[in-house]
Subunit: 195 residues, 2 copies
DNA sequence: GTCTATATAGTGATAGAC
DNA sequence: GTCTATCACTATATAGAC
């Protein structure tokens, strides 16, 4: 844990980000000090500044990295044929991808107000880009005649809000398996926006 | 704004809570100092402690007050006959009540982790009590045969998550009136959990 | 690349005058 | 009931030794 003077670690950078991710998620960006992050990594606070220019940049890079990975992973999936199947796939992707990264998801939603205005604009743009991936499935479904949401924009927001909720309560070993949760949500979503 | 020595205000207590509510919502509990709150009210920081024992109690009382008011207002409504009508009424109540208090709603969701363990337990209990008001509508609907959610517990969480989302994007004067938003969400919810 | 030490500023909370 | 002044800490960030 603690590190002696002059000892070198080649992976200090990633370890700083990991520690910050965990601590920011648990206590909040404003409540976490650079000293706490340094202590988790096993260095002194001053050493952090060899890897990051300041605390704000650390938060921004965590959020930007998460949003970019989310978009990239979503776009890298094989594309099913038909909007209904693509909607089903999107739901499964969203639930599982987000459940696997609870800290990053939590930060991306909770710490928006702690971003500088310029950084906020970047993250907000990425969030909208991700939402548009779902919205385009819904509009394709309308054209196909397989989906009929009352309003594609609001349905997009409603579905994402529903799915995000899963992260706040789902725990492995609970009443329902993840497959069951997914099936139940798919049932509700299909009925809500189906044709 | 600034107040001269010895000047007395009979409503300093409520003004402290108003200022704290606004500042906590905008910048986050941990990022707001007692001096900032005092400056908003127009007193010095020391004067705050005539009204609150400490900063944590201030946060707790804001959240407890909001949750209690929400539950009381929800229970005070006239009870429509039939689960379908009661579900429709609940949705309208939730959307409008929450849109009218964006700061309190924001704090109630974002600052849970800044509560002491004992305070957290109280707020979490109130949150569950509010959710149970919706869940009992769904289970009543199942017995009536008018509603058929795939799972009442998950449907409760899904509907509340959907509705809470409205607070994050709805702005008066936007593309849709509040009546239209309500109608669209009602359409989706009725299809998702209807019989 | 990490250390120690420090500059500069701010924190929550309290004491005692008025 | 509010003020001023203060205590004891803590904060981010930087400088310079090694």
């Amino acid at each position: 844990m603690a590190r002696t003077h002059g000892s070198h670690s080649d992976i200090t950078g990633p370890r700083i980000r990991d520690a910050a991710l965990r601590l920011f998620a648990r206590h909040g960006y404003a409540a976490v000090s650079m000293r706490q992050i340094a202590a988790e990594v096993g260095v002194q606070a001053g050493a952090l500044y060899n890897y990051i220019p300041d605390k704000q940049s650390l938060l921004f890079e965590l959020m930007q990295g998460h949003m970019s990975e989310t978009i990239a992973a979503c776009e890298a999936r094989p594309k099913a044929s038909g909007a209904l199947a693509r909607l089903r796939d999107f739901m499964g992707f969203h639930i599982r991808f987000h459940l696997a990264r609870p800290d990053a998801v939590f930060i991306a939603y909770m710490e928006l107000r702690n971003l500088s205005p310029e950084n906020f604009a970047v993250i907000e743009g990425l969030r909208q880009r991700y939402e548009s991936l779902l919205e385009s499935i819904l509009t394709e479904g309308i054209h196909e005649g397989t989906l009929a949401p009352p309003d594609p924009k609001l349905a997009t927001r409603a579905v994402i809000a529903m799915l995000n909720g899963v992260n706040t309560w789902y725990r492995e070993g609970g009443r329902l398996t993840l497959d069951e949760v997914e099936a139940i949500y798919w049932d509700m979503v299909r009925r809500a926006v189906g044709g």
